[in-house]
């Protein structure tokens, strides 16, 4: 492909509660940081693709494009999508088609402005039928775990190991977030903390197994590969991108222990990038819960079906910031993941790309991962709903 899109700058806000700030202020901060890094002016932008799930509900906004236009004094094409990955997908398409060569991709969410009703909103977004039947944002994760345990016949000491492995996921992500200045939770938690919360909830998963509700914004500047070289000698290329869709009602899907969309996306994205799974050293995946991190490792192909928890458990025995799966080192969610970095829906995918961008350029500071081999590739996985929609992106430093 002649026109691989390239990221030339990224920016984000801290994730967490921004009680005093409006969504406009958040996206402004993210966009200013990204444009500064890219070294561009707003007039250089030819289009903007911006994501948010809930602003019309949480902040009573109608046409988000309007305030973006006020903010940037831009009168170019603007499109609003749900997830950041969806916005990025549109931007990639435009650049690959040769229509534009410099665009803004952004995402924002202000979930805490509707603290008292957001769980109902999240459920209606996920699936109305499940909502009507009494589902909660946590329940389907727990059902998936139950189905997983049953399918693979995990019991007794193995089940205990699996429960520990899931706790390690949360502990690991909090540990990573310690080094992330933008993360929502920059404090360590212990396995005991996670288990205690499960016990308090009287459930297989507890408070520390789930990503929080967050505010935040992220942005990146995407350019065609030719234009990118004018601005930076260290662009990060999007080598593969893929999206897939599945039934909205979780219970209607054939297999309750995996996300079909993830498998399809990963396969297609790798094919497009022309690399193989073993070339990927870093993955930022969508850990809305610890179960999702475990299952995604299998769906993406890194771990064998029904075995991811073993790899997580073994890796943790002498944890060094990465998993060892089948003898290979894999870094997962080095920014702290959704669990600790935060999960402001529309902005979340942007934080994943932010992390990959910094790591690939060797600019991740304290979080910088140790690269054993070059070339070095990374991927992101973002899901919408409970695996109803999926996006996988593959990133690299060199054009192939």
């Amino acid at each position: 492909m002649s026109k691989f899109p390239a990221i030339i700058g990224v920016g984000r806000t801290r994730f967490g509660e921004h009680y005093e700030r409006s969504p406009e202020k958040l996206i402004e901060e993210a966009w200013l940081r990204a444009s500064e890094e890219a070294g561009i002016e707003r007039k250089d932008l030819q289009a903007a693709y911006v994501a948010d799930y809930f602003l019309p509900i949480t902040n009573k906004f109608g046409l988000e494009e309007g305030f973006l236009s006020e903010l940037t004094e831009l009168h170019v094409q603007m499109e609003i999508t749900r997830s950041f990955s969806s916005a990025l997908s549109n931007a990639c398409n435009a650049i690959q088609a040769g229509r534009y060569n410099l665009v803004l991709v952004g995402g924002m969410e202000k979930m805490t402005d509707r603290w008292d009703k957001i769980r109902d909103d999240l459920m209606l977004l996920e699936d109305p039928w499940s909502y009507y039947a009494g589902c909660t944002p946590e329940a389907n994760h727990e059902l998936m775990l139950r189905a997983y345990i049953k399918k693979y016949g995990i019991k007794d000491s193995e089940l205990e190991k699996l429960n520990y492995a899931l706790a390690y996921v949360a502990v690991k992500n909090h540990k990573h977030a310690l080094k992330n200045e933008y993360a929502q939770y920059r404090r360590e938690i212990t396995v005991e903390d996670v288990l205690k919360q499960r016990k308090a909830a009287r459930k297989p998963l507890g408070l520390y197994d789930f990503a929080p509700i967050s505010d935040g914004a992220t942005a990146l500047i995407l350019a065609s590969s030719e234009v990118a070289q004018k601005y930076t000698d260290k662009p990060v290329y999007i080598l593969g991108c893929s999206s897939a869709t599945d039934y909205i009602t979780f219970s209607s899907r054939e297999d309750l222990t995996r996300f079909l969309v993830t498998r399809i996306c990963m396969e297609n994205a790798l094919k497009m990038a022309g690399i193989s799974l073993k070339d990927i050293a870093l993955v930022e995946l969508y850990d809305q819960s610890t179960v999702m991190e475990m299952v995604s490792l299998e769906d993406l192909g890194f771990a064998r079906e029904g075995k991811a928890w073993e790899a997580i458990y073994e890796s943790y025995q002498n944890h060094d910031g990465y998993y060892i799966i089948d003898g290979k080192r894999l870094y997962v969610n080095t920014n702290g993941g959704l669990k600790a970095d935060g999960n402001p829906l529309g902005a979340t995918g942007g934080a994943q790309v932010f992390e990959v961008f910094k790591q690939l350029r060797g600019e991740a500071g304290e979080r910088q991962i140790e690269l054993l081999s070059e070339p070095f590739y990374a991927c992101t996985l973002e899901l919408e709903g409970f695996g109803t929609k999926g996006y996988v992106y593959v990133f690299g430093k060199e054009l192939r």
């Binding site: 008292d116 109902d120 039947a133 009494g134 909660t136 946590e138 329940a139 459930k203 219970s251």
Partner: protein, 507 residues
């Protein structure tokens, strides 16, 4: 949710658990579909409607919800899971209902997974009193506990009678009870109300009668606790139970449905209308259903009208009238009415009031006595010619006193006296007494039932059982005895009873 079209679509599918099945590949779906995802365009017009309303499913996996979303907060804690039907061909989300979880209850999810469950028609979640009452059948209970799974089979009728009569009946009493001194009363679960009891009773009557639901031409629902001041319960019953011929394209049932109100005789009053309707050949109505249902209202103790709070119950009772395969023929009826304001509830008021001194004499005793005597006179019958006597039962004292005054003996009126087991179920009270007698009566026995409705009036009916009564009994396992003495009954204290009774209202 107060959007009317969304509410219509959700309850149309969710109340009956409607689905579709591809005739070409056999794939099944929950929800209505015009074509099959597997077969694509060639499956247009080849999707057969199915539903899971009378079926039993299997709880595949489940979890415990103790932090529900806002609209479910009133339901407290519950089990949520995935239920499969037809050997896992189709799966639906659902919650388990009829279970109160205590703080220190041990929750063993694996002991629940894999068990058979039955869909229950319930309120969906809490809404304001001004909003549409949302309902759904994605609520389940275990098939081997209180509520049994019973197959519904439409059976071709084989015998026509000269007189109209009862062809089947069903009684629905909730699993929860309160026991105080010598009286036990039924208590709705928090997601139950007069609408859900009406549907349950009607469903049980269909199962018992074996009547094809499409043959029912009219349904009457008598109640004084309809959550709506304007909007019938009967329309919900007609749609959920698919009464009358179904116009599938537009989701319309070709049936007449109406709610009636006359305090506790709202249902019994319509027995004669149902019987006349099926008897009149040009009506072309084979069967008519009459339901008495009430989540009997009472102000809390100490408040005006609170004296009722010692007696009120919850339940529904449905009778199907027809000319074929009759189990009890109607030999005659007689009603009386006077304008006696002994008990009333003004529009907009939550609880009824009692006129105290009027309630017994000259209200209850006068009307019940006159209607009963007149009917016996008309039919030239003595109490000794009648095997069973049932009257309206707001408490234990009244029906016993009137039975004795009319000359009936203990063995004649005791079988129909159910108030000490279920409480006063208002419109359902004397019908439940009648059902209790039909549960045990032999062929060729006479039953006198006299209702009483405040306001005031009484309907007296004389039934004569037929030889088909015992053979149909086999079809109904969920009978009065089963519901009165069941190991799964759960007793609650007064505070819980009040909370459950007020139900899923947020204001």
């Amino acid at each position: 949710m107060s959007s009317e079209p969304i509410e219509r679509r959700v309850s149309y599918v969710g109340d009956r658990l409607r689905g579709s099945k591809c005739i070409l590949c056999g794939k099944e779906y929950f929800d209505l579909r015009d074509y099959c995802g597997n077969c694509g365009r060639k499956s247009y017009g080849k999707m057969a409607p199915i539903d899971f309303f009378f079926e039993k499913g299997k709880l595949e996996v489940c979890t415990f919800v103790n932090r529900p979303t806002n609209k479910f907060t009133k339901l407290g804690t519950y089990i949520y899971g995935i239920v499969s039907f037809h050997n896992e061909k189709v799966r639906v989300p659902g919650r388990l209902t009829d279970k109160l979880w205590k703080e220190d209850d041990e929750i063993d999810l694996s002991s629940m997974e894999g068990r058979e469950v039955v869909p229950r028609f319930r309120r969906r979640y809490a809404v304001k009193k001004s909003e549409i009452v949302p309902t759904i059948s994605l609520a389940f209970t275990f098939a081997d506990e209180y509520y049994l799974h019973q197959e519904y089979k439409a059976i071709k009728p084989n015998m026509e009678y000269e007189k109209p009569g009862i062809v089947g009946y069903g009684v629905y009493i909730s699993r929860f009870r309160i026991r105080e001194s010598f009286i036990e009363r039924s208590v709705p679960f928090i997601d139950e109300d007069a609408i859900t009891a009406a549907v349950e009773a009607g469903k049980l009557a269909l199962i018992h009668s074996g009547v094809d639901s499409s043959l029912i031409g009219k349904v009457y629902v008598g109640s004084e606790s309809n959550p709506y001041a304007v909007k019938p319960i009967a329309s919900k019953v007609a749609q959920v139970l698919k009464l009358g011929e179904e116009d599938k394209a537009d989701g319309v049932q070709y049936v007449d449905a109406v709610d009636t109100e006359f305090a506790c005789k709202a249902a019994t009053s319509m027995f004669k209308d149902a019987a006349s309707l099926v008897f009149y050949p040009d009506s072309h109505v084979s069967c008519a259903m009459v339901i008495g249902t009430d989540n009997s209202q009472a102000a809390p103790r100490g408040a005006p009208g609170g004296e009722l709070d010692f007696f009120v119950g919850y339940g529904g009772c449905a009778f199907i009238f027809g000319m074929h395969d009759v189990i009890a023929e109607i030999e005659g009826w007689h009603s009386c009415t006077s304008d006696t304001p002994d008990f009333w509830r003004r529009d907009g008021e939550p609880f009824p009031r009692h006129g105290g001194r009027f309630t017994g004499d000259p209200a209850y005793f006068k009307h019940v006595g006159k209607a009963a005597k007149k009917l016996m006179e008309k039919l030239r019958l003595q109490p000794s010619d009648i095997q069973y006597f049932i009257s309206h039962q707001p408490n234990i004292r009244f029906p016993v006193r009137i039975a004795k005054a009319l000359g009936f003996k203990d063995e004649q009126y005791m079988p129909g006296l159910q108030v000490a087991r279920f409480g006063n179920t208002y419109s359902g009270a004397s019908p439940i007494g009648l059902a209790a007698v039909l549960d045990i009566a032999k062929p060729e026995e006479r039953i006198l039932v006299v209702s009483y409705g405040s306001g005031a009036g009484s309907d007296a009916y004389l039934f004569r059982t037929t030889k088909q009564l015992p053979e149909k009994r086999e079809r109904q396992k969920f009978n009065i005895q089963y519901q009165a003495q069941n190991p799964y009954i759960e007793y609650v204290d007064y505070g819980t009873y009040r909370k459950l009774k007020l139900g899923l209202e947020t204001d």
